[in-house]
Symmetry: C2
Subunit: 339 residues, 2 copies
């Protein structure tokens, strides 16, 4: 049996209005009736119906979050941060899995709209016009997480990919490397592809190192298998490369794995630096040096931002989260250079 506010009212010999007031601690009752009502609530184990509340308050205390993949190593941390803050704000989070498909994404957006979520977090991929138009049409607060949009004005929280990539390559250079390759994502990916490639290029230029476009092996994504393939390709073509910047930790671990198969020693023969600092970074053999995105913190920040919007704040600003080099053992110093 699940009780309603009416049951409580009847049993406590008061009106539902009084019960409601007590529940929402608004003024208008004596301490005595309050005590009585609370007692009855306790007794019955009454729990307010959030659905009814949502209907009348126009607030469901639920937010939605869209991920291209739910099972990637990346997603967990993000979700964890988001859920943490949402929970602090008395809200819950509906996790959706778009598989990067436009159709699925639109369906999820619709479903979330029908459920009247309070706000939306969109993660890790490009915001298509179709999505933006819909979000705008249903007029719901939304923030971008681990992605950004150049075309549409939605606030975002992410690291500066260009800068982070630059830092990684700079680190390699300061360790004395001069022949530096890269395993990248798709250059057509404006979020995680191109900016990292450009950061890499920029660093080489700034330090007057040879830039050879063929030093960049492109994966179709950021996955392990692609890292393996790319490493093989790059190392057979340019065996004199001494260090590689990988655009993701999965790519980097793939490279390490491939190196092992090829009998190439990391970091003795070639140094590897990754990007992300996922759990696998510390678990790899050797442990992976990488530039960290603080994913959990990013999730928290995005959620704080979203709630600020919900509370009607007007100073919603994009947040660039600072990245950081995590030194482990996959990079070897050559003759060190002072720069």
């Amino acid at each position: 049996m699940t009780y309603t506010i009416k049951d409580v009212a009847k049993r406590a010999n008061v009106s539902i209005a009084t019960v409601s007031r007590i529940l929402n601690n608004q003024p208008g009752y004596s301490e005595k009736t309050k005590a009585k009502v609370l007692e009855v609530i306790q007794e019955l184990g009454y729990q307010p119906n959030a659905v009814a509340r949502g209907l009348i308050n126009r607030r469901t205390h639920t937010i939605g979050i869209l991920f291209p993949s739910l099972s990637s190593l990346f997603t967990g941390k993000l979700l964890s941060g988001v859920e943490k803050i949402a929970h602090e704000k008395e809200s819950s989070v509906i996790a959706c899995h778009t598989q990067s498909q436009g159709l699925k994404t639109m369906k999820y957006l619709q479903m979330l709209n029908e459920k009247r979520i309070d706000g939306l977090i969109f993660t890790s991929e490009l915001l298509k016009e179709e999505y933006y138009e819909y979000i705008k049409k249903i007029d719901i607060p939304a923030v971008l997480l681990a992605t950004e949009s150049f075309a549409f004005p939605l606030p975002y929280v992410k690291v500066n990919d260009h800068h982070a990539a630059y830092s990684a390559v700079q680190y390699l250079i300061k360790k004395g490397h001069t022949k530096i390759g890269m395993i990248s994502g798709l250059p057509t990916d404006p979020i995680a592809g191109k900016p990292r490639i450009q950061g890499y290029l920029q660093a080489l230029e700034d330090y007057q190192l040879e830039v050879n476009k063929d030093y960049i092996a492109r994966g179709d994504g950021f996955k392990f298998g692609e890292g393996k393939a790319a490493f093989k390709q790059i190392m057979t073509q340019f065996p004199d490369i001494t260090a590689i910047f990988c655009a993701s930790d999965e790519l980097a671990v793939g490279a390490i794995s491939q190196a092992y198969e090829m009998g190439i020693r990391i970091p003795d023969d070639v140094s590897i630096i990754g990007y992300d600092n996922l759990q696998i970074a510390e678990m790899s053999v050797p442990p992976l040096t990488t530039v960290a995105q603080p994913l959990e913190k990013m999730g928290e920040t995005a959620t704080h931002l979203l709630f600020k919007m919900l509370e009607g704040s007007n100073d919603v600003e994009n947040k660039i989260i600072s990245h950081q080099i995590i030194e482990r053992e996959s990079v070897k110093a050559l003759e060190t250079r002072d720069l």
Copy 2:
């Protein structure tokens, strides 16, 4: 602007009853009015309010899922499978993060109850009496995923841990190993601790191998760091051990990592077999041989089971999912034995 059924009705010159009928394709209108109404719906971009629907239908098309951790490698796959089926069933899933804390868990349970979720999935940890009593009290369909309860009658889906552990050790034995250690979780953990230890013990016994309780190094959990520590301990104490069964892939990868630090070669000096088959298993160097739990499939199965319960089916049965040895490169054959 977000429209209601009233707006549609007015604009189409029909009653809200008719609109509702069309929306739920129930009989009682002409093709002509149907067309007209659909047209208006299109025009306005009307989307039914699921909150109002939930209130009257007593069905929210939302299920809740409780995880001890949201960011573990384990969780993602499980969630992915659950979400997939839920989505097929036109439902969404609220992900909760209990941190294995009783208080938090109870709070989540309450919140989910207030939101009037249709069903609940409880994962990866022991179902306390308090939880069960509450679930029973609010009278909501629930299934256990990657865990089971000996004390309380909730259906579960998981692999047979005892059997899976047995298989792993048997595999080692068939590869010719006779001095086999184990890195385990807590023996007091009735779900993932004890059964795996007993499976290990049983296999040794069945094949008349020496069982030495000290060959078991206990972690406080199943994490990477614990794997490292346990490996160090076990190998310094018993350097003649040739193979180790690890109760999780994280533990196994920790062992491999530690081996690397100690200059012990895997699998040449010692063989390692893991448990889970997470993504890290294929990524490790060398790639990890392990006994696979099909996590995604388990998530799917649990969700199917839950929906069966929702639909009032009475043949809800526990599902034991079959495990499977995934051969990779972390186990070396000694003189092979025919057994």
